[in-house]
């Protein structure tokens, strides 16, 4: 796990058998070579991507078994010149970086063998199977591109119906986005209740069930999440702050939805022990 502090310091904790961090159970400062301030950090399954404020440099560490560090064996640094990087994101075995010029680069083979099988006989696009940063062809100023942890590509753009996206959050196989007007939409895998949608069985956008479970391929609004001020996605569950209260929904086998039960929660519900506590801007979570 990684955190960046307000002062730009990097803190990490967790396993270290692949060099992710010091092997400790409490957050420890992690000094970086050269520049000292961290703008943003994102964690994949067993690697981290760090966006520093030192000339827009991107630092990567840990496992490179699937090219998720962005360089081939034998090369100590990437030869691909980047414009200053504005944001980074790590998936299970791939990573993305957006630049000031509006481009998006991707690297890491992720689950390209899955893509090969699904797209066959068509070839897998270069940016889904590259071990070095590769330009994603669809990114632009009016489009957002998002890759889930498993490598599904979703893209959307602004339109006249006031659906300009301001926030994107991704679980392993589902997405939660918020628009400028505060509307929240979800799509992707649905079988653990991770989309938080009502009446899924009657939903016209419902895809045919696969052996992997049911899914919804088009964004559907979740009215109960309108105006959410914070959203966070775990692998198959979610948390959000709505009206000053924290709600949860999705997979709950390990009690991660916080309601004390082991039952999946199909729609956003306030977490019982926080029911009488309202958040304010100065409080810490």
């Amino acid at each position: 796990m990684s955190l960046s502090s307000e002062s730009g310091e990097l803190l990490m904790c967790g396993q270290n058998h692949k060099g992710q961090s010091q092997e400790v159970i409490t957050f420890q400062p992690c000094p970086l070579p050269g520049c000292s301030r961290v703008q943003q950090v994102s964690c994949g399954w067993d690697f981290s991507v760090i966006n520093s404020d030192c000339d827009g440099q991107v630092l990567v560490c840990s496992s490179n078994a699937f090219g998720q560090l962005g360089f081939s064996p034998g090369i100590t640094h990437s030869a691909e010149p980047f414009h200053p990087v504005t944001s980074v994101a790590a998936g299970l075995r791939h990573a993305l970086a957006s630049t000031a010029s509006g481009c998006v680069y991707q690297w890491g083979t992720g689950l390209s063998s899955h893509a090969k099988r699904m797209l066959s006989p068509h070839p897998v696009p270069a940016h889904l199977s590259s071990k070095e940063p590769c330009l994603v062809p669809v990114a632009g100023s009016t489009h957002c591109v998002c890759l889930t942890v498993k490598g599904d590509v979703f893209l959307w753009g602004s339109n006249k119906h006031d659906q300009r996206v301001t926030d994107v959050h991704s679980g392993w196989t589902h997405l939660v986005v918020k628009t400028e007007s505060g509307r929240v939409f979800t799509w992707g895998r649905a079988n653990y209740g991770q989309l938080g949608q009502i009446n899924q069985s009657t939903e016209k956008e419902y895809d045919i069930s696969t052996s992997s479970g049911q899914s919804i391929s088009r964004p559907v609004e979740v009215k109960a999440l309108f105006g959410a001020t914070q959203i966070a996605c775990g692998s198959e569950h979610n948390l959000a702050v709505v009206g000053g209260r924290i709600v949860s929904w999705g997979w709950n086998e390990h009690k991660m939805c916080g309601d004390g039960s082991l039952c999946d929660i199909p729609q956003p519900q306030p977490i019982p022990c926080f029911r009488d506590i309202t958040s304010n801007e100065d409080s810490t979570s």
Partner: protein, 85 residues
């Protein structure tokens, strides 16, 4: 009827030579596991020791039953590298 959480190609598993076991990340944070021996016996279910989820392993059973090992990425050493911008 068994409900699989997902279907995963054997090439997407990471192989540990010491334990002769193939691993794939589980959403709970642990890993699905299936041994080489299981695969050679035609097994196709990888289980997670921490939760109820299971995945179906997609592989060529004939190749495994002959004793041939499918190349899967091995765990690598630690690295902290600088990618220039």
């Amino acid at each position: 009827m068994t409900v699989f959480h997902d279907e995963v190609e054997i090439e997407d598993f990471e192989y540990d030579e010491e334990t002769e076991t193939y691993y794939f990340p589980c959403p709970c944070g642990d890993r699905f596991a299936i041994t080489k021996e299981d695969l050679e016996n035609g097994e196709e279910v990888a289980t997670c020791p921490s939760c109820s989820l299971i995945v179906k392993v997609i592989y060529d059973k004939e190749q495994f039953m002959c004793g041939e090992v499918i190349e899967a990425p091995k765990t690598t050493e630690n690295k902290l590298e600088l990618a220039q911008s």
